[in-house]
């Protein structure tokens, strides 16, 4: 059952992924991206990573996609159709992507992964504790660092986005 579900999700991920990068209507591409992200959240859910799935949905699907949609609306008409890249470039990109997939799949399938027996269930409390722990496998420091990172990025983004005060105002 879970297996079937996985294949369904995987197929939709790849399908929507392809649509995201090929659709000629940019707003639709953003919507397809949303579907991909939601599909991933579903996979996280299946794996038992509820927290991660929630983060994915809230931060990404909720936040980022909205940001992107705003940006699109700011810079395009709703039914703006994208032009296609030159055929040569498309071909080169296609070849390169296929080569990348080939190389990576070759590596993944020829590597002998160790068999893992039944693993423990994921406990939310353990995640919460680790997030604030300072010992090994504790994530307090990265947590602090990412807050600085977000702060710096916000400062940067606002400074750039708010534009210059006009001379006369």
């Amino acid at each position: 059952m879970e297996r079937l579900l996985f294949y369904l999700i995987a197929a939709s991920l790849i399908g929507f992924g392809l649509l995201t990068v090929t659709s000629r209507r940019i707003l639709r591409a953003a919507v397809y991206l949303f579907f991909v992200l939601a599909g991933m959240a579903a996979l996280y859910f299946l794996m038992g990573y509820n927290f991660l799935a929630a983060v994915q949905l809230v931060v990404y699907a909720g936040g980022v996609v909205v940001l992107i949609v705003f940006a699109i609306l700011l810079t395009h008409g709703i039914d703006h159709r994208l032009r296609l890249a030159p055929a040569g470039q498309m071909l080169a990109a296609l070849a390169l992507s296929l080569a990348g997939i080939g190389v990576s799949l070759f590596a993944i399938f020829s590597y002998d992964f160790p068999k893992v027996l039944r693993e423990p269930e994921v406990e939310m409390s353990a995640i919460g504790q680790q997030l604030l722990s300072t010992g090994k496998n504790g994530y307090l420091l990265p947590f602090e660092v990412i807050s600085i990172l977000l702060l710096a990025v916000m400062v940067g983004a606002i400074v750039i986005a708010k534009g210059r005060k006009m001379k006369n105002s």
């Binding site: 300072t134 990172l149 990025v153 940067g156 400074v159």
Partner: protein, 472 residues
């Protein structure tokens, strides 16, 4: 956790305090007095730099996510020196119309947070901290690159930087995930034991290496460099070429030795090929540049190729050579950028032909440039020569005679284009030379410091021995 051990994070904490102080100042300060901010920021940062030279024990914190040794400390200090010089040179720029009074604090805030990222990257004990440090070091710079809002080129530089960097970190992350899959941990300590070359981990290593090479602008991962360097404000370009690049070089040096000793056969081979490509292509492109910033961009690409020679040996001697080179490179490159900055600020001129006859009107500036060019070209007796010499020496010691030969040929090629600048300044007459001007005091201080560094770092041997002592 023993909170007293937090002293090991002295530099990070002090820089964080600095960041917060800036925010407080921005809020509390009367907007009419904002023009004093550059001076305050400069003074605070000078204090921070001085603090960084105080000795500090080695140790690790947060379960090994953060670790520090005297060598890492020294690396941070070298970056501090670089940024201090950049700040001195940026002093007049920040107050110019390009930045605007209302965005001064942010300029410093972004620079400092990027440096903080570089610190964390250097001190990282696991891939997560490394990744966060890397992003913290590069995202604010992308914003800085686009800082000149009314110039298309600036925005273009910013968008090119942020998109390329994101792609590079994507590839780097994919590499990390493969390494994690086979090595079983994100901690360097555990990975050191867990990693051994196999098909998946080699692929992971190669992706990881490519992503990091992007930061150092090694060929063929370098293409963004010239465009971004040319488009970004000069202060940001100097920051990118010295501090960002220096940090990435340090990290590469540390990780290759610490994390991937078993992959030495692979990375040695790669480094040889990439060093040759980087030196040669950097030089070939530098030859034909007319814009000074772009010219220096390619020159700095070629210089990165030389640095790889020191990483090849993978021993402390080579690492010393690398640190020493980066230190000298910082002074030489910033001397050149300082002159470019001063001229651009006073006249808006950036192309090489506009430098013609500079010696007549601004003899001192052109002498600084002359020294910088000599040092970058590695002409004895200025410091640049010694920097290169030790790199070559270390590569020759490891048996890479062929590579040293190629490097030496590239030195000759590079000499040609560095002489082009000298020729323009000293040997060409111009109908409309750049008029005589006097730069602001901080700029002059920074140039004097750079000249002192270029002249004495090579000759004053205790510096080298000091570096050596900290690396060992």
């Amino acid at each position: 956790m023993d909170w007293q051990k937090l002293i090991l994070m002295r530099d990070e904490l002090s820089l964080t305090v600095l960041l917060l102080l800036l925010l407080v100042l921005e809020i509390a300060m009367d907007s009419r007095r904002k023009h004093q901010l550059p001076t305050i920021a400069l003074a605070l940062f000078a204090l921070h730099t001085a603090l960084g030279f105080l000795p500090l024990a080695s140790g690790h914190l947060f379960g090994g996510m953060f670790h520090t040794t005297p060598m890492l400390q020294l690396m941070k200090s070298i970056l501090n020196i670089g940024l201090l010089l950049v700040l001195l040179q940026a002093h007049a720029y920040v107050r110019s119309e390009w930045v605007g009074r209302e965005r001064i604090t942010e300029f410093y805030f972004l620079l400092f947070s990027s440096l903080l990222g570089a610190y964390f990257m250097i001190s990282a004990g696991d891939f997560l901290m490394f990744y966060l440090g890397l992003e913290l070091a590069s995202l604010p710079v992308a914003a800085l690159a686009a800082y000149e809002l009314s110039r298309q080129r600036s925005a273009e530089a910013g968008i090119k930087l942020v998109l390329s960097a994101a792609l590079a970190s994507g590839v780097l992350l994919l590499g990390i995930s493969f390494l994690y899959a086979t090595g079983g941990s994100m901690y360097f300590e555990d990975l050191q034991k867990g990693l051994s070359p196999n098909v998946l981990s080699v692929l992971g290593f190669l992706f990881f290496f490519s992503g990091l090479s992007f930061k150092i602008s090694l060929v063929p991962f370098h293409f963004w460099t010239a465009d971004v360097y040319e488009g970004a404000p000069i202060s940001v370009t100097s920051y990118l070429s010295v501090v960002s690049k220096g940090a990435a070089v340090f990290v590469l040096g540390i990780l290759l030795v610490q994390l991937f000793p078993l992959y030495a056969d692979i990375w040695r081979e790669i480094l040889v090929v990439i060093a040759i490509l980087t030196m040669t292509l950097g030089n070939l492109f530098a030859l034909r540049q007319t814009n000074m910033k772009r010219f220096l961009a390619f020159s700095s690409i070629a210089q990165a190729g030389f640095i790889l020679l020191g990483l090849l040996a993978g021993d402390s001697r080579g690492m010393t050579a690398v640190l020493y080179f980066v230190l000298i490179y910082a002074f030489s490159n910033l001397a050149a950028f300082g002159v470019v900055q001063a001229i651009a600020l006073h006249t808006g001129k950036e192309t090489m032909s506009e430098y013609e006859g500079l010696y007549r009107s601004n003899p001192r500036l052109s002498l600084v440039m002359l020294l910088a060019m000599f040092s970058l070209a590695g002409v004895p007796p200025v410091a640049g020569f010694f920097g290169k010499f030790f790199l070559f020496m270390s590569a020759a010691g490891a048996g890479y005679y062929g590579l040293v030969l190629v490097a030496v040929i590239n030195v000759v090629i590079s000499l040609y284009y560095y002489l082009l600048v000298i020729r323009a300044m000293f040997l060409r007459k111009s109908e409309q030379p750049i008029a005589h001007f006097v730069s602001d005091l901080p700029m002059r201080i920074s140039l004097v410091l750079c000249v002192a560094g270029i002249l004495f770092l090579g000759l004053y041997s205790p510096v080298y021995e000091w570096v050596l002592g900290l690396v060992l």
